[in-house]
Amino acid sequence: MTAKEFESTPSPHLTLPSSPKQRDLRAYLPHAIVWVVLLTAPLWMPLVGGYTLLATRVLVLAMAAMGLNLLLGYAGALSFGQAAFFGLGGYAAGETLMHLAPSTPLALLIGMLTGGVIAAILGPIAVRLRGIYFAMITIAFGQAFYFIVVNWNSFTGGEDGLLGFSRQPLHFDTMTVPLSGINYYYLTLFCFAVVAALVAALLRSPLGHAFIAVRENERRLQFFGVKAGTLLWIAFTISGFIAGLAGALYAQLNNFISPAALHWTLSGDFVMMCVLGGMRSFWGPLLGAGIYVVAENLLSSYTDNWMSLLGLMFILIVLFFPKGVLGILRVRVKA
C-alpha cells in the first residue's frame, strides 16, 4: 500500500489513528485548537460577555461528563448516576477543608478518592444488570446518596447545603499562590488536562479497546475470555474517581455544596452533555458541557421557563441530533 493510499483513507476513529504514517499534523490539529482555546479562556471570555467563573464551571462539568463518557459513549453502559459521585466528591472536599486540614490539594485528593472508592464498592452490584436495568440501578443508587446527604443534617448541613469552607492558597516551597478566580481556573485546567491525558492514554490501551468492544458486541468478547462485568466495573470505578475530583473542584468553585449536586437531574444533565457534544468523540463531553452552560445561562436570563426550554432541547436532540454536534461534523467529513 502506498503512502498516498494511506493518507486518503479516512480514519473515523475514536482515538488517534493506529498507523504511524497517519500521525501527521492534521490529526493533532483539533486537539491543539482545543488547548489553545482553553488556555486563553480568561482572556477572551469577557469579550463575549462571559466571565472566568463560567469557564471554570464548564471545565468542572466537562470533567465529570468525560468520566461518564467512558461508560456511556465508550463502554456503552447507561449510567444515570454520575452526579452521586460528583456530589459526594464535593462534600468530601468541603468536609476535608472544614475538619481535616485547610489544604485544597488534600481536599481534591479526598474528593477524588471518595468518588472512586464508592464506585468501586457499588460497581460489582451494578454491573450485574445491563441496559435499562443498569440505568435504573445507577439512578436508584444516586438517589440513595441524595437522601443520605439530605438527612444527615449534622454532618452535611442537610437541605441547605454545606457552608463554611473555602479554597485555600497553594503553598509551594518558594511561594504561596492564592486561588483567585483566574488562578483557580488554571488549577482546574491543570486537573482537567491530567484527566484528559489519562483518559486519552487509556483509550489507546488494550483496556480502552476492550471498553469499545464491550459496547459493540458483548457476546463476541466472551469468546476472547474477557468478562464484560469486570470491564464495566473498571470503567465504572474510573469514572467515579474522575467525577469525585470534578465534584471536589466544583465545591471549591463557589465554596459551597448542596444536595442538588447529587440529584438525578444533574446526572441527566451529564448524560445530555455527552450526547449533545457527541458520545463517540473524545471532546464531545467538553463541547456538550460548554453548550449546556451557555444555554443554561442565556435561557435563564431571558425567561423563567428555562427548564421547559432545556427539556425541549433534550427532546429535540434525541429526536433529531442523537449523534451530537461532533457526530454530525464527523459524518460530513467522512462524506
Partner: protein
C-alpha cells in the same frame, strides 16, 4: 492419537434429541467437512465442541485431554476457536481494530491500561501478519461494517486466527458469498491451513466447495452419524446419495 476425539456424544434439549451417539475423530492437520441436511445437528455439534454447552452423554477429548466440561474461554485457550454462521464482529471498528482486540486477548493483555512500546510493537506486528496472511492489508483501516460480506467473513476468520488456534471450527464460512468470494475463501483456508499448520473442521452447504477443500467428510443426518470418508468415497456411498445428495455427487 487424534487431535479431536468426540466419543459417544448425545445432546438432548428436553425431549428433543438433537444429537445421538456421535463419534468423530479428527486427526492433526486434517481438513474435515461436516455435512448434513438442515436440522442434522451440525451447529449443535459445533456448539458442543466449542464449549457453549455440555453434552448430555459422552465425552470430548482434545489432544488426549478431556475437555467435556470446559468453558468456552478455557477451550479458546487450549486452541479451539470457532467462527459463526452470522458474522460476529465489531461492526463500527476498523479491520485493524477488530484484529487488534483479538490479538490483545490472545496475548492476555486485554485488561492492561498501559502498554510499553515493545509490547505495542509486538501487537502491531502480529496484526500486520494477520492482515498479510488474510490479504486484508489494503482494507486495514476501513470500518468493518462497510466491507462487502465476503470480506467481513474473512475478517472473522482472521480474528479466529489471531487466537492461535490449533483446531479451527468454521461455521458455514462461505454463507451468503458470491462465487468469486467463495473461491477466495477456499484458497485462503487452504493457504492458512498450510501456513499455520491448522486442523480445520468446517460446516458447509456448498458441495462444490466441500469436495474441493475437504480431505475427509463426515455426514450427519437427523442427529446421527451417517457416513464418513474421503470425498470420492462419500460420493460413491449409496446411503449418502439416498439420504442427502439425492442422486450422483456434485
Amino acid at each position: 492419537m487424534s487431535l479431536l476425539n468426540v466419543e459417544n456424544v448425545s445432546k438432548k434439549f428436553g425431549q428433543l434429541a438433537a444429537l445421538s451417539d456421535i463419534h468423530l475423530k479428527v486427526e492433526k492437520g486434517e481438513i474435515r467437512a461436516l455435512l448434513g441436511p438442515n436440522g442434522a445437528g451440525k451447529t449443535t455439534l459445533f456448539n458442543l465442541i466449542s464449549g457453549m454447552f455440555a453434552p448430555t452423554t459422552g465425552s470430548i477429548h482434545f489432544n488426549d485431554d478431556e475437555i467435556t466440561q470446559q468453558s468456552v474461554e478455557q477451550r479458546v485457550r487450549t486452541g479451539i476457536v470457532r467462527t459463526f454462521q452470522i458474522t460476529e464482529i465489531f461492526k463500527e471498528l476498523s479491520v485493524y481494530e477488530n484484529l487488534r482486540i483479538a490479538v490483545e486477548s490472545d496475548m492476555g493483555i486485554s485488561l492492561r491500561p498501559w502498554l510499553g512500546s515493545t509490547q505495542k510493537q509486538a501487537v502491531r506486528r502480529r496484526v500486520d501478519e494477520l492482515l498479510e496472511a488474510t490479504q486484508l492489508a489494503s482494507k486495514a483501516y476501513r470500518e468493518v461494517g462497510e466491507l462487502a460480506h465476503g470480506d467481513q467473513r474473512v475478517v472473522e476468520v482472521a480474528m479466529a486466527l489471531a487466537m492461535s488456534p490449533r483446531l479451527l471450527l468454521l461455521d458455514e464460512p462461505t454463507a451468503g458469498m458470491s462465487d468469486h468470494e467463495t473461491e477466495h475463501m477456499v484458497q485462503l483456508i487452504r493457504q492458512l491451513h498450510q501456513e499455520f499448520d491448522l486442523t480445520v473442521l468446517f460446516v458447509e452447504h456448498d458441495m462444490h466447495l466441500v469436495f474441493n477443500l475437504a480431505q475427509r467428510i463426515t455426514i450427519l443426518d437427523n442427529g446421527r452419524w451417517l457416513a464418513e470418508g474421503t470425498p470420492q468415497e462419500i460420493a460413491d456411498d449409496e446411503r449418502v446419495q439416498a439420504a442427502y445428495l439425492g442422486g450422483s455427487a456434485a
